[in-house]
């Protein structure tokens, strides 16, 4: 389990939750759409979806919800906790899995546990969507190359008529094992000051 968010941070997050939801009890997707800064983000749709994805709530649920309460908000945010100073190797491994699981869920939109070529293509297209040049061909090409790489790393040898279904979670872990995600995928909550909270 990712280490729990401490009480001071919960206070700050609560303030933000209230601000986003206009003092209601739950957040909906349109609340997220109101955040101006997100407008420039090429993957905003996927980020917003991640908040409403039951798989990220640590309750082994599946599917999507339409609105979330504060508890779910905090749970999703907890994926971005920095690792605590003294962590055993096992804890570090668990944190890695958590974070990579979050990423995996973001890619695997149809919830079947595998990132297919189509889904991966969609990811790359979204990344390039704000570049101005809608080069769908290039995006496809890059996605294909990436899939090829995953297949080569994970499976190695395949018969010509075998078909690589898609990236499973295990393959995903192997793919990004050099990525040091536990130190990269973090937000520093501690420095948050309510006066700098944007709209």
């Amino acid at each position: 389990m990712v280490s729990p968010v401490c009480s001071k941070q919960i206070g700050v997050l609560h303030k933000r939750f209230k601000q986003l939801s206009h003092n209601e009890e739950t957040l909906r997707r349109d609340h997220f759409n109101e955040i101006d800064d997100l407008a420039f983000n090429p993957i905003r749709a996927q980020i917003i979806e991640a908040f409403f994805d039951r798989r990220n709530f640590h309750q082994n649920g599946e599917g999507k919800v339409q609105e979330i309460g504060f508890e779910e908000f905090v749970v999703v945010m907890s994926h971005f906790r920095p690792p605590s100073a003294h962590m055993t190797e096992e804890q570090r491994g668990k944190t890695r899995r958590e974070k990579l699981r979050f990423l995996f869920n973001m890619h695997d939109t149809d919830n079947d546990g595998i990132i297919t070529l189509e889904e991966y293509r969609h990811v790359v297209e979204e990344l390039l969507s704000r570049s101005g040049t809608l080069e769908k061909e290039t995006a496809k090409c890059i996605a294909d190359a990436a899939m090829l790489e995953v297949a080569s790393i994970s499976v190695g040898h395949m018969e010509p008529d075998e078909f690589y279904e898609g990236i499973t979670f295990e393959h995903f872990l192997k793919l990004l094992e050099r990525f040091e995600i536990e130190s990269r995928m973090i937000i520093r909550f501690l420095n948050m000051d309510t006066t700098t909270l944007c709209k």
Partner: protein, 751 residues
Amino acid sequence: MDPIRRSSTLRLTGLLCLLFLVFFSRGFASHDVVSEKSSGTTQEDSRSQANSTAHKKTFPVLSFNYEHVRTPFEISLWILLALFMKLGFHIIPTVSHIVPESCLLIFVGLLVGGIIKATGEQPPILDSNLFFLYLLPPIILDAGYFLPMRPFTENIGTILMFAMVGTLWNVFFIGGMMYAVCQIDAAKLAHVDLLSCLLFGSIISAVDPVSVLAVFEEIHINELLHILVFGESLLNDAVTVVLYHLFKEFAHEQAITVTGAVLGVISFFVVSLGGVMVGVIYGIVGAFTSRFTSYSRVIEPLFVFLYSYMAYLSAEIFHLSGIMSLIACGVIMRPYVEANISHKSYTTVKYFLKMWSSVSDTLIFIFLGVSTVAGPHTWNWIFVIFTVIFCLVSRVLGVIGLTAFMNKFRIVKLTKKDQFIIAYGGLRGAIAFSLGFLLNNNEIKNLFLTAIITVIFFTVFVQGMTIRPLVELLAVKKKKESKESINEEIHTQFLDHLLTGIEDICGHYGHHHWKDKLNRFNKTYVKRWLIAGERSTEPQLISFYNKMELKQAMMMVESGSAAKLPTIVSTVSIRNVQAKGSPKPSRAISKSREEEIRRVLRANLQNTRQRLRSYSRYELLNDALEDDISEARFRKQKEMERRMSHYLTVPANRQETPPVRKVFFQQEHKVYTYDDSESPRGRASPSCADDVSELKETPEKPDQSSTPRANRDAELKPKEQDDQGDQLKVSRCLSDPGPNPEDDEDSTFLP
């Protein structure tokens, strides 16, 4: 047996060359005698030859005039010596494994200096002007241009802390302690006052980038530690410059005033920020210039070098930090210049920088050795020993203290091992020596110089030699073999956007937010001005992808007949990845891309004389406009090639195991331009038969403008006819065992 004999022969040759060079240089140092003698002989010869009136000077058939070329000749000799030494150390593997190159070079310098002195000549001293203006800039530029930006910016806080606060601490600690030492009666150093000691401290405390680079490059330590020590060595130049000039000025007045101290602080900001600004200005101008260099590609590298050098010199005019200016210029210029210049120019820049910095580095160490032999020395046991001790102590204390402070703010904390390596890697080098050399000539100067040289020797020899076994002993993380992975790049970008988005949701303007803002600003405004053509809108992912493709294509072309395997060793093909029955995307290959592909493949294939599998779609023409085609399309070309290579045709009826090569080389031309890809022959199996038929088509029917052909550029057609003579033979992939009845191995594929 053979390599040993070879290496010993080479060693002997190297030694002989060395001696030869040394005697040459010594000989020419006493040129006056020689030239007089020889001119005397010539005259005698001519007189004896003349047979005519003695007062008429006969035409000298062969004369000796060394003065004419003396300076460049001697410079060349020194550089040659340096290069031979470098070669020699790499040929002899055993020694270079234990002793770092810098130590050996200093030793050679000592030897050469000793030989020169033994013959009664005055050995040349490392002139400060020579050092600061000619020897140092290439090394710094090389470092700055290839500075890995991501780890640098991620650790910038720590680096600045070490560079600024750490160096300040070192200066005052060493200066103060040495003053205390000087008060000891036994030392007989009472004439050394506080200011001089502080001046000495400021010279000796800066970590030297040249030495750090020289030693750290060989131990392949992990990126974080490397960038920390190296970044510190680069950025502490500002502190060193300010303090050095400050104390030098004060040494005249013999007192430090409060205003003086305040001015010193202000001066520090001016020096560092001013230097950076000068570098940024030159960098932007350089990037802007490179936008137009497509008209004359061969001079592109010169622009890079000259702008950077001007940045350094301009900063030095105002006594600003030249090193920071150089680094800033290289860093700013690099992304834009690389997008604009040709691939060949990029390679040229890279190799020239490496070459110059390597030569500089070698020369610096040799001269250090020679200067040691040359210079007047005042050896004072107490002073020297205490200097060495205090340098070590202050470094250790400084690192420990600063790490304890910085770890509060760092995500990835620095462990004790890291701290030890950082402390141990604080090497001093030639900058300290040159600064010391610039001091006013008095007795204290010799004292200081001796101490400085001792510290340098100690750090380079002792610390340099022992750091490698210590790294092994402490099991410090080594540099990871970075294989470029498109997946990692995709996820790096994905993560950047994700974290920015989360920060926005949290309402927290963290550094991802600002980085994203900077990137967007860069993309919308800066890139448009500084990058030529369509590259300006190319997203980073695509650039990365093209670059990767480029590398892999070059690698596969270069590996030629060698059995070097490409990075991905597998038999997985794109066929395995794509869904069965998914419609093949129709590709609209632009004309320019085709051209590029053709050109590069032709160039490469002609060079390596490869016999490749069907390259039907790559009609390589003997294009007279080769040099004019924009290199910018070269990269897209690579993308194209890679795309092609993805579509493997691994027909079911093939007996042989698909060689690894096939991952890259085989083409499936169903995905080629024209939709009506029927050839007159039937397309029974999606295989090389198709390739072959396609191929056969073209040589046999060159005049026929078959419908598919007509869809493509008409200009190609006449050229194809012309160049059939030059066509490369197409054949199977090198690893293919034997002729396949389907394949026609004599079908030519058009260059």
